[in-house]
Structures are given as structure tokens and as C-alpha cells.
């Protein structure tokens, strides 16, 4: 018996070591993508010049690296991290593989907030108004979902359905504003829905980072609760999880993260859906590993998409929202075809 337990413990430790190795490898990949992104750009600084400009004040090159390339890279990391993490949280609390900031309508409502600010005029001259509106609307829709969650007899399916309904509602409201807008406003709205990392500076990154990273420890602390929720509600309750409170807190935190991830850069689709799935295929369903794996994957995907988007057709930039889908979908299909077991 003791021997068997010892074997199990050794296997468990080996498994955890493997997962830790995956995390380290993914972190290295993310840094690698960031370095590639750092060295690619219209200014042709080259590898050496770009890296050197990080430390030495080399005039224009230093300014390009610190004020233009690094903010893009930092924002790509923050946005990818946030969207992937929020997607993982939504999938966990709703026990539904289709849940993501988009399918729950939170991204759509944030988009509506931005569109409303653009069309009413204020947003053109102050991107903080656009971001603030996006955040408020994201919170509003998450509270709507919360309201549904608190209804008697509400199930995870009800929540997903409510999310889809909210997504349609806010998409329609955005379309209405788009319909009412002038040609110029329609132009701006279309580009907002494509997503762009060109506009961000350190100030925006500071705000977005606060919204994305501050909730992270709180979410991570709930990892074991999410593991129990993944079995079923009854088991979770029997193990002492306050499932109502866990869902509500997680929903609010994930909404805050979603709003932070997209409010300055527009809509970047697919990351919130695809990253948790890929992460689950790699490290399984233990949320202690799933959260960081999905977040690192999300950041890596957005970083890769941004580098491809601004170098493939340079100096014209292919919007990030388009490239993320182009990269993410084939990658997901590849993993789905290669998988050997059910991962969800």
C-alpha cells in the first residue's frame, strides 16, 4: 500500500514537473516572440541595433525601441494574457467549452461602448473616453449575466444562452450606431473592430496592465475551487466550495480583465476561445497550470500575430484582429487532429 502511494506521489510529481517544464518552455517562447517582434520594423535597426538600443541611448533607434516597439510588444503581452485568462475563467465557471469573452457578450458590449463614444463624437478626441465607455459597458453586461446567474433554477446553459443573447443585443446596438454614423465614423468603427496595437503608449499600457494583472492573484487563488467546479456543482459544494460566490467573483474579475485587454486596442477575436483549449490539450484541466499556460499562450499568439501583421505586407499593417484568427484557427485544427484523448 505504502509502495503504491509512493509510486503515485512520484508519478504526480513527475507530471507536475512536466507541466512546470511546459510553463518554462512557453515563457521562453513568449520571450522569443517578443525578441523577434523587437527586432522587426520599418526602421531596419537589425538584431544588433535593436538589442543595443535597449540599453544605450542611440538617438532615434532608442526612441523607436522604447516608445514604439516595446509598447506594442507590452500591449500584445497584456492583451493576449488577459483575453486568454478571461476565456479560461469563463469556460471554468460555466463548464462550457464555448464560453469566451466574445460568446458571453462581454467583448461585444465593450465594443458597443467604444462605438457609442466614437459616434457621439467625444471619442475621436479622447481615446480614454472610448476605453472608459468600453469598460463600463463590459461591466454592465457582466452584471446582466450575474443577474441571470442569480435567477432561480439558472444553469450554466442558461448563462451561456444569456451571454449569446447579450452578444447579439450589443452587436445590434453597435450596428445601429454604425448605421447612424457618417461615412467617417463608420470608417473609424470598422477599424476599431479590426483591432490595432499602433495607438498604445506606456500610459495606456499602465492602465490596461492594472486591469489585467491585479485580478490575476485572486483568480489563481481560486484554482482549486475551479478544479472542483469542473467535476460538478454537487462535488464542489460537498468539498466546501461556495459555488455562487466563486462564480460571481470570477465573473466580475474576468470582465474587468476583458475590458482591460481590449479597451485601448479594439477587438482581438479568437484568443479568448482558442488559448484555453490549446492549454487544456497541453497541460490538462488542473487550473493551477491551466491559467498560466493559457495566459502565456495567449500572449505568444498575439505577439506572433502582431509581428506577422506588421512585417508580412510592410509598411502596410494587417490588422491584429484578422491575423490572430489566421494564426489561431489552423493551429487549433492541427492540435485537434493530433490529439490522442478527450481533453474537455
Amino acid at each position: 500500500m505504502a509502495g503504491e502511494t509512493g509510486t503515485l506521489i512520484r508519478r504526480y510529481r513527475r507530471l507536475n514537473a512536466r507541466k512546470l517544464f511546459v510553463l518554462v518552455a512557453l515563457f521562453a517562447i513568449m520571450i522569443g516572440f517578443a525578441l523577434v517582434g523587437l527586432t522587426q520594423g520599418s526602421a531596419n535597426l537589425g538584431w544588433k541595433g535593436a538589442i543595443e538600443s535597449l540599453w544605450r541611448n542611440t538617438g532615434d533607434a532608442h526612441a523607436i525601441i522604447w516608445n514604439l516597439r516595446l509598447p506594442r510588444i507590452a500591449m500584445a503581452v497584456v492583451a493576449g494574457w488577459g483575453l486568454a485568462l478571461a476565456g479560461t475563467v469563463f469556460q471554468a465557471i460555466l463548464r462550457n467549452p464555448l464560453a469566451s469573452p466574445y460568446t458571453l457578450g462581454i467583448a461585444s458590449s465593450a465594443g458597443f461602448g467604444a462605438v457609442a463614444a466614437i459616434v457621439t463624437g467625444t471619442g475621436f478626441y479622447n481615446e480614454y473616453v472610448i476605453a472608459g465607455n468600453a469598460f463600463l459597458c463590459a461591466l454592465f453586461s457582466s452584471f446582466l449575466i450575474l443577474g441571470v446567474a442569480r435567477m432561480k433554477g439558472s444553469t450554466t446553459e442558461t448563462l451561456v444562452l444569456a451571454g449569446i443573447a447579450i452578444m447579439f443585443l450589443f452587436s445590434s446596438l453597435s450596428s445601429l450606431f454604425q448605421y447612424m454614423g457618417t461615412k467617417e465614423e463608420v470608417h473609424a468603427i470598422v477599424f476599431w473592430f479590426f483591432g490595432s496595437l499602433s495607438k498604445v503608449g506606456w500610459k495606456e499600457i499602465g492602465m490596461a496592465s492594472a486591469m489585467v494583472f491585479v485580478p490575476c492573484p485572486f483568480i489563481y487563488r481560486m484554482s482549486l475551487d475551479f478544479n472542483l467546479l469542473a467535476v460538478d456543482d454537487e462535488s464542489a459544494v460537498s468539498m466546501g466550495v461556495n459555488i455562487g460566490k466563486t462564480r460571481i467573483v470570477a465573473l466580475v474579475l474576468a470582465s474587468l480583465i476583458t475590458a482591460g485587454a481590449i479597451c485601448f486596442i479594439g477587438v482581438i477575436g479568437f484568443i479568448g476561445l482558442v488559448s484555453p483549449h490549446i492549454a487544456r490539450m497541453i497541460v490538462g484541466g488542473d487550473h493551477r497550470y491551466l491559467f498560466p499556460t493559457a495566459a502565456l499562450l495567449g500572449s505568444s499568439l498575439v505577439l506572433a500575430a502582431d509581428t506577422v501583421g506588421r512585417t508580412l505586407w510592410a509598411p502596410q499593417v494587417i490588422p491584429i484582429g484578422i491575423v490572430t484568427s489566421f494564426i489561431g484557427v489552423p493551429f487549433l485544427f492541427y492540435l485537434l487532429m493530433r490529439r490522442r484523448k478527450e481533453y474537455w
Partner: protein, 352 residues
């Protein structure tokens, strides 16, 4: 009794025949005296029956040209957005709004029974022609936002409205304004490089856009001249690597009251000059960043925008030249309005 029935039949027969004759006469009235064949913005030959008595416009630029040709009395329907534009608000009066430029209300158009509908080349789609054909309404596609085709389109509209003389006068005015710019910049050995930014931040206007044409006409070299997408996203780094001499930004602001417009335009300009690392741009260091409201950014008044661009690119050659004076003259002579606003920032000649 029989006599009364006979009388009744006689009266009915009279009414029937009289009605028929009247209908024939009315029908003969509707038969067009003649037809004019014009080439529209899609390059198609369109047969327009004359005279055009009532006109529906889906294109606000077309409204401005119709107004310049003195044919506002023919306009029965206008696009929705016109009612919100201070330039038009008091001038379109009771004209029926017919929906959006790309999504018109076909039923409203049909009830107005216009002779023709003027729409942009590609918006709305072919359904406009299909739906209007069943009501016998001719659709003519004219853009009026590209400076390269503007004069030809004004002449085309002049023929459709039988206002050839007014059209010639307007075209001649355009020609003279254009010539005065072209002649001054023709022999310049080096063309200044220009970064043109459209309404959305970090989106430039390349070949295929109206603003690119304006830049070329003003004697500038668009740094996005080799782009394949008209409104492409770019990076701040690319602009920095190109070091343009001049930056021109489009503002989605209608040049209304001078004080209000100037404040908003100057705010927009400040935001451009304060972008990360852009203080290293030659154009920013030399204070050559300009903002232009959409009144004169493409459209029938684009030539005024071109005059501003030329003055920004070649300040020495356009010294003492005030493009806003050109604007005021155009508004007075062709639109019959006194224009006191300002469509650019910084304001030429400082604060007025």
C-alpha cells in the same frame, strides 16, 4: 325612363372617352422631349430622360453641386446626414430625408416620384437600379469626392439638369483655382514628402483615396504612394523612418463656428505632436503639422483643401495667399452663404 337611362349612358360614355383623352394627353406630357446620354462614375452609359423635374440625392456631395448649379428647387429628397450638417441644416428646409447614402429607404424614394436618383458609384449596390427601374426612375452614379473626376462629373450633372452654363461657370472656377496652384508648384525641383492621416489614427490615405489625389495636385509626394490599400493601417515607426516634411491629418469635424472648430482642431493637432517618439519627426520639430476639417477634405470643396496643402508645403511660394478667402468666395458665389468658419488648424495668418 328609357330616355333617362340613355342620358346616363351618354354621360358615362362621354366621361369614359374624355378621361381616356385626358389620360393620353397626360401621358404625352410624360413622354420625354429628349434623352441625354451620360457616362456615370462606373463608366456606364446612362440614358436620362429630360427634363428632370425632381431629383433625389443619396450623396451629400451631389447636393452641394446641385446647389452650386442653382437647382435646389429640383431636389425632392436628401440623405439623412444632411439634416445634421450646419452647412445644410437651414437650407434643405422641408426636403424629405430618404435614408442613408448606403442604405436608402426605397419606399420613400418611390413615393417622391423623382425623375432621377443620384448616388455614389458603389454604394448602395446594384439593388438601387433594380428597385428604381420598376418605378421608371433613372439612377445616375456620380461621386463628386475625387478631384480628378470632379469637373467631368459637374459637367455631367449640368447636362442632366440642363444647367450647362452654371456647370461651365463652376468648372471654370475649379480650373482657375487649380491652375493658380499648379503654376506655382510646377517647377519646384523637390517635392515635399507628406504623411496624410485619414480620420482614424495611424491610418494613412494612399493611392485610390481622394486625399492622395489632393496631395499630388498640391505638389506633394505622399509617403504612402506605393501602397496598395487606400486606407491602410501603418505604424508610428514607419512614419518616423520616412521623416515626412509635412503631416496632414483629416478631422471628422464640420467647420462650424470658428472658436469651437479651432479648439477641436487644435486639440487633435496636439495629440498628433504628442504621440510617442513623434517629437523626433522633422515635421513636428519644424511645426509643420496641420489638421483639416472634412468640409474641404475631398468633395466639391477639395480644391480649397488642395490650396491649403500647397500653402503648407510651399510657404514661400504662397506667401500672402489665403485659401480661406477662396473658401469664402466659393461659398458666397456658388452657395449663396456667408462663410465665417475655418476648416484648418493652425489658422492661416494666426487667430482671426
Amino acid at each position: 325612363m328609357y330616355r333617362n337611362v340613355g342620358r346616363l349612358i351618354a354621360v358615362l360614355l362621354f366621361l369614359f372617352f374624355a378621361g381616356g383623352v385626358a389620360q393620353d394627353l397626360l401621358a404625352n406630357d410624360n413622354v420625354p422631349a429628349h434623352t441625354v446620354v451620360v457616362t456615370d462614375a462606373r463608366g456606364r452609359s446612362v440614358h436620362v430622360p429630360l427634363p428632370v423635374a425632381r431629383l433625389v440625392l443619396l450623396n451629400s456631395d451631389a447636393l452641394e453641386v446641385v446647389s452650386a448649379l442653382g437647382a435646389m428647387n429640383m431636389v425632392a429628397g436628401v440623405p439623412q446626414t444632411v439634416a445634421e450638417d450646419p452647412f445644410w441644416k437651414n437650407r434643405v428646409g422641408e426636403m424629405q430625408a430618404v435614408g442613408r447614402w448606403n442604405e436608402p429607404n426605397y419606399e420613400v424614394i418611390a413615393t417622391l416620384s423623382p425623375s432621377a436618383v443620384i448616388a455614389y458609384a458603389h454604394q448602395p449596390g446594384d439593388e438601387l437600379e433594380r428597385k428604381m427601374a420598376s418605378f421608371g426612375i433613372t439612377v445616375v452614379r456620380l461621386d463628386f469626392y475625387r478631384i480628378s473626376t470632379l469637373k467631368r462629373e459637374v459637367e455631367t450633372l449640368g447636362r442632366i439638369l440642363e444647367r450647362e452654363e452654371a456647370a461651365s461657370r463652376l468648372v471654370e472656377w475649379y480650373r482657375r483655382a487649380e491652375l493658380s496652384i499648379v503654376e506655382r508648384v510646377r517647377d519646384c525641383p523637390v517635392r515635399p514628402s507628406v504623411y496624410i492621416e485619414s480620420y482614424s489614427d495611424y491610418h494613412t490615405a494612399g493611392p485610390g483615396s481622394g486625399a492622395h489625389e489632393m496631395c499630388i495636385l498640391a505638389g506633394g509626394r505622399n509617403i504612402a504612394e506605393n501602397f496598395t490599400i487606400p486606407y491602410s493601417e501603418i505604424t508610428g515607426e514607419w512614419v518616423l523612418s520616412q521623416q515626412p516634411d509635412v503631416i496632414v491629418k483629416a478631422a471628422n469635424i464640420i467647420g462650424g463656428k470658428l472658436s469651437d472648430t479651432s479648439r477641436r482642431l487644435s486639440e487633435l493637432r496636439n495629440r498628433i505632436t504628442q504621440r510617442p517618439a513623434w517629437e523626433r519627426l522633422r515635421a513636428v520639430r519644424q511645426d509643420r503639422v496641420y489638421v483639416m476639417a472634412n468640409d474641404i477634405w475631398t468633395g466639391p470643396r477639395a480644391i480649397i483643401g488642395v490650396a491649403h496643402m500647397a500653402a503648407w508645403m510651399y510657404p514661400e511660394r504662397f506667401r500672402g495667399n489665403d485659401p480661406e478667402e477662396l473658401h469664402r468666395r466659393y461659398c458666397k458665389d456658388f452657395q449663396g452663404v456667408i462663410y465665417e468658419g475655418c476648416c484648418v488648424y493652425p489658422i492661416p495668418g494666426g487667430v482671426r
